[in-house]
Symmetry: C2
Subunit: 287 residues, 2 copies
Amino acid sequence: MADENPIRIRRAFHTVVSPTNSLLKLYRSALREGATREGWMAIEGPVIVAEALREDLAAGNAGYARSASRIRSVLVASSATEQFRDLLEQLPEDAELAQAPDAVFRSVAATVNPQGIAALVEVQPPEFVSILRQREPLLLIGCGVQDPGNLGTMMRSAEAFGASALATLKSTVSPLNPKAVRASAGAAFRLPMYAGFEEGPLFTELDHAGVRTIAADPYAPAAITACDLRGPLAILTGNEAGGLEPELSRRAESRLRIPMQPGINSINAATAAAIFLYEAARQRGLK
Amino acid sequence: MADENPIRIRRAFHTVVSPTNSLLKLYRSALREGATREGWMAIEGPVIVAEALREDLAAGNAGYARSASRIRSVLVASSATEQFRDLLEQLPEDAELAQAPDAVFRSVAATVNPQGIAALVEVQPPEFVSILRQREPLLLIGCGVQDPGNLGTMMRSAEAFGASALATLKSTVSPLNPKAVRASAGAAFRLPMYAGFEEGPLFTELDHAGVRTIAADPYAPAAITACDLRGPLAILTGNEAGGLEPELSRRAESRLRIPMQPGINSINAATAAAIFLYEAARQRGLK
């Protein structure tokens, strides 16, 4: 099939033209959902595909437990093939490479101004239990976070401040939501993420592993500045409008607030999560 | 004119019907720009108008130097008048109140799904020099921030962590941009803001007032955790993609970074500003 391709690329790739082709159907739904049914992340645009490739090539090089990201498939618009030549040439051998006429690509893309490249990435986190067994795990638990941009920003902060993982309750938007992935600026490929927990089983696992749960609660008497945030810790962070549900907050071992100017009791949800993570990292000696 | 009005409201209000009416023209452009030519903030939607009203009624009650917000004009869609009755009845006596047929209101609104109410608010900060003369001023300086949502989130964090003011260089998006105001969750009405500085004069004023300038720089050798952030302080924060311009960074008295996991050197711009402000507040003893 490579012979049919006017652009010379080391890798063979096949051309799909029918909009009802099964690969195109897969891309079309996955780019809207954020993932395929088997959980492969669907991404669109050269910046993020290049980021995924960087992670794929760097696989296993992080000095700490991180997800392994493998590019499984790349789809390019015919007219964009030459432009993305360098990137395409670096793809791993086992990644499927397909090309579609521009109009067909546009019909598959989820963005208003498609940039001619999309990919499916298998992101494999370590087993959750191995995260809990780390010496001093620090987890962020999304409880009802609705705004994917906020969740992605939390993912980025969690990675930056050395969190071990993100876990989310069912009520939280998917960490694979395309807007969350974009806002994470690459953290989605590396930070171990565990989505869709039921509340009961998650608390049970954390309890068994000896991980202390703290609830971010603006009305808590104690402030994070006055508390020890070292040791195994899970920070429960709520949704943008209402914060944590009272029942969840009660279930946590402690409730802590961020110190704020009198009369003010709320900041942006992603900002609040970052402050908790920063304070924990600071106390743990991150330099 | 109140007699012509089918809805009984204590306040008289006039009805404007022609889309070329000068008040409507004023609203139309101001809702898009974020402000009128004289700098009155243009806002849209019941949540934020109610917030502006709360600030207007609370004027001067804050225990610290804050902006004074006065509602100067409110425009409602005819069919929404009854719904906003409570709010309209609380308007200050000197606020102009106008009503427009729904279709005309829609033509004026800047949002896709207009909710039938808009307002013009005069937000008057204290004189800049009085901010600089505070005992221990803490300023956030936006240098090239482009995303209005990020700037608004920074405004919200600045208020929460007790910053004295926000100042912005010309290269930064307007703090009165509607998206910035919305993301600020009311802080735009209270936090003293000074927009559109030229770099030279701003540095001169800060220097004269003895305010130390620090640049947020991910490549700085020193981390904020290891530095004293008490005393008069201005934090320079850069744009989303490139951070601070090198020249601006050099001009600051010190360059400081946020401690992060090895290999990571960036977080969301609004998150970074919040961490600097939080750390300064923590060191100053905010509880």
